[in-house]
């Protein structure tokens, strides 16, 4: 039985990655995720792994590409502006169908922004992580335990589907300390006949590449990739439902916003309001089925976000705009309070029961 330890979210990611068999970490300091690099700097040399502080976030993602092309698990971590730098690399990873794990511990933006938490990279992670048609599996932890468990899951899904998994954590998740149980997962070994391992004179050479100048060929690659994405959407969408069975109002929130919302929901329930929470754990694939099912009985939705409203669009789309969706949001590093969420829930309650 693995012991429970008190750990910072960023460090839990690092230890979980090592337990998941990752032996190559490339990073660059940026607040609020530098602890991932610092932890790896201490741990990796002790287990014969690679820790490298790269010259830039751009170099770091390309080093990940290098390791990934050889069939091994590799990761990098950064925070919002650094993720922007990596976008070219994320597109290349997708175009080469390489598995990788990328961590974004989000801070306020845009531009240099601030160092306090945000969720304003949602669009970037789910829509615009680089040029071209592609997706990453986006996982949103809401506790230090999930920082660890979703990192392990992320590596597994990345290998299984030959995609990048992104851990999209708001800054709070990276910085907070909570008890966590760290247990090595059952490591599934995925065959990687495409990996660059040296021909050894025994096979034709492997090429890891995203350049396909013949448009018919590039089209085929795109359609084949999206067939795989369809499988991911069918099998891997995940959400937690909290008090949703009889909910007339549905709050949708991830990460720290979900933690805050739960407090508001409990307070609202004490006042007799039938409200529940749908907490997406995968942001891509978005748990559309949960939203669509809730729309059958919930008359009004509330999206709670640390941004100017990004996930709210996916909430609307998931139910074909069947129900109205309000936004409770803070930006720039501010976190919505339970009172702010409760106020919106009460306002809606007043409206639907007018």
């Amino acid at each position: 039985m693995a012991e429970k330890v008190l750990m910072k979210g960023n460090e839990a990611i690092a230890e979980a990655a090592i337990l998941a068999g990752c032996r190559h970490y490339f990073g660059y300091p940026i607040t609020p995720q530098t602890e991932v690099a610092a932890y790896m700097a201490k741990r990796m040399p002790k287990i014969g792994g690679t820790f490298l502080q790269a010259e830039s976030e751009i170099a770091a993602i390309n080093m990940v590409i290098g390791v990934a092309s050889t069939g091994k698990r590799a990761m990098t971590s950064s925070s919002s502006p650094g993720i922007s730098l990596k976008c070219e690399g994320l597109s290349y990873l997708a175009g080469c169908d390489l598995p990788a794990l990328v961590v974004n511990v989000e801070r306020g933006g845009p531009g240099l922004g601030g160092i306090q938490p945000s969720q304003s990279d949602y669009f970037q992670a789910t829509r615009g992580s680089g040029h071209g048609d592609f997706h990453m599996i986006v996982l949103a932890p809401a506790s230090v335990q999930e920082m660890a468990s979703l990192t392990m899951k992320g590596f597994d899904l990345a290998d299984k589907y030959r995609m990048t998994s992104m851990i999209l954590a708001d800054g709070t998740m990276g910085q907070m300390m909570e008890p966590v149980i760290l247990e090595a997962p059952e490591l599934v070994k995925y065959e990687k006949p495409w990996a660059l391992t040296g021909t050894d004179g025994k096979r034709p050479h492997n090429i890891v590449n995203s350049l396909f100048l013949v448009p018919e060929d590039l089209e085929k690659m795109n359609f084949a990739r999206y067939e795989r994405y369809r499988t991911v959407e069918e099998n891997e969408a995940a959400a937690e439902e909290f008090m949703m069975e009889d909910a007339e109002i549905a709050v949708v929130a991830f990460g720290v916003a979900a933690r805050v919302s739960k407090n508001a929901i409990l307070a609202a329930r004490e006042r007799g309001i039938k409200v529940g929470l749908i907490r997406p754990i995968t942001l891509w694939p978005f748990p559309k089925a949960n939203i669509a099912a809730a729309a059958a009985h919930a008359k009004h939705f509330v999206s709670v976000e640390l941004s100017m409203g990004q996930m709210i669009e996916d909430v609307r789309l998931a139910m074909d705009c069947a129900r109205p969706v309000s936004l409770v949001n803070r930006a720039g590093g501010m976190i919505p309070s339970p009172d702010e969420v409760l106020a919106e829930i009460e306002k809606i309650q007043g409206g639907i029961h007018a």
Binding site: H24, F26, T50, L52, A54, E55, S56, I58, A59, A60, N62, M63, V64, I65, G66, V67, A68, S69, T70, K72, A74, E88, G89, Y92, C96, L196, T197, G198, T199, D200, G201, K202, H205, N206, I207, V208, N209, S210, L211
Partner: protein
């Protein structure tokens, strides 16, 4: 007895390069080095972005195609993944000395045990003849149509000289392939650079002065002469660093 034949580490794919472009010679020298060291089975190459982007079609070794300028970072990842593999990059002057300068400098500074083949033809070939960081003062290109004006467009970068200041770099040599004598010297340097990696001697970079007849607006033969007349005086051939030569 075969006096001369195509090396085994080159595929049968016909090269797409322009007639007289010396990329073909340089590819052959790299393949000969791989053959002679018997490392074909454990070599992994990193192709870059430029005329040689499809180098992965020409070498029989496992290859990965890197984003523009990033080949040394990708090579770092490949090498760190398995240091027993022989890892090389093949890059042009835009890839290595413009967008990729940071990755070039830092992979050298870290002393990564890789081999970089730097093809310097003072122009951007693939995209149709624009100015390169290594284009000469006064050189006419698509983006320096009145000749490179150092006042507004700056001076060329001499990579071997610049990298020689880094403690992490082990072996830096500049060669050319515009004559039989120069090709034979280039071969020696490239072979040494690969042998260095096999022997764990750290970072090697061979800068090869190459031609671009098409974008220089010359016949292939005149382009070879231009290397002697204009390129070599600005980029002198020779060894710029050899850590292991000193230790004798």
């Amino acid at each position: 007895m075969t006096v001369f034949a195509k090396p085994k580490s080159l595929t049968d794919a016909p090269l797409h390069y322009c007639p007289g472009c010396t990329h073909g010679i340089i590819h052959r020298l790299v393949a000969e080095a791989i053959d002679e060291l018997g490392i074909e089975g454990r070599t992994i190459g990193v192709a870059s972005v430029g005329c040689s982007v499809m180098a992965y079609n020409y070498f029989t070794v496992d290859m990965v195609q890197a984003a523009h300028g990033r080949a040394p970072a990708v090579a770092t990842g490949v090498k760190r993944s398995d240091p027993s593999k022989i890892v090389f990059t093949y890059q042009g002057d835009g890839d290595l000395a413009s967008i990729g300068t940071c990755e070039t400098v830092h992979s050298a500074a870290r002393g990564e045990n890789i081999t970089i083949i730097f093809v310097n033809n003072a122009i951007y070939g693939m995209t149709g003849g624009q100015m390169a960081p290594t284009s000469l003062p006064g050189q006419i290109t698509q983006t320096s149509p009145y000749g490179r004006d150092v006042a507004t467009q700056g001076y060329p970068i001499k990579m071997c000289e610049m990298l020689s200041q880094l403690d992490g770099a082990s072996y830096l040599e500049r060669v050319a392939v515009n004559s039989v004598k120069n090709v034979r010297n280039a071969k020696k340097a490239i072979l040494k650079a690969f042998r260095n990696q096999v022997e764990g001697k750290g970072f090697s970079l061979i800068e090869v002065i190459s031609t671009c007849p098409t974008n220089w607006g010359m016949t292939p033969e005149k382009a070879l002469a231009w290397v002697d007349e204009k390129m070599i005086p600005y980029y002198p051939l020779g060894v710029y660093k050899d850590k292991y030569a000193e230790v004798q």
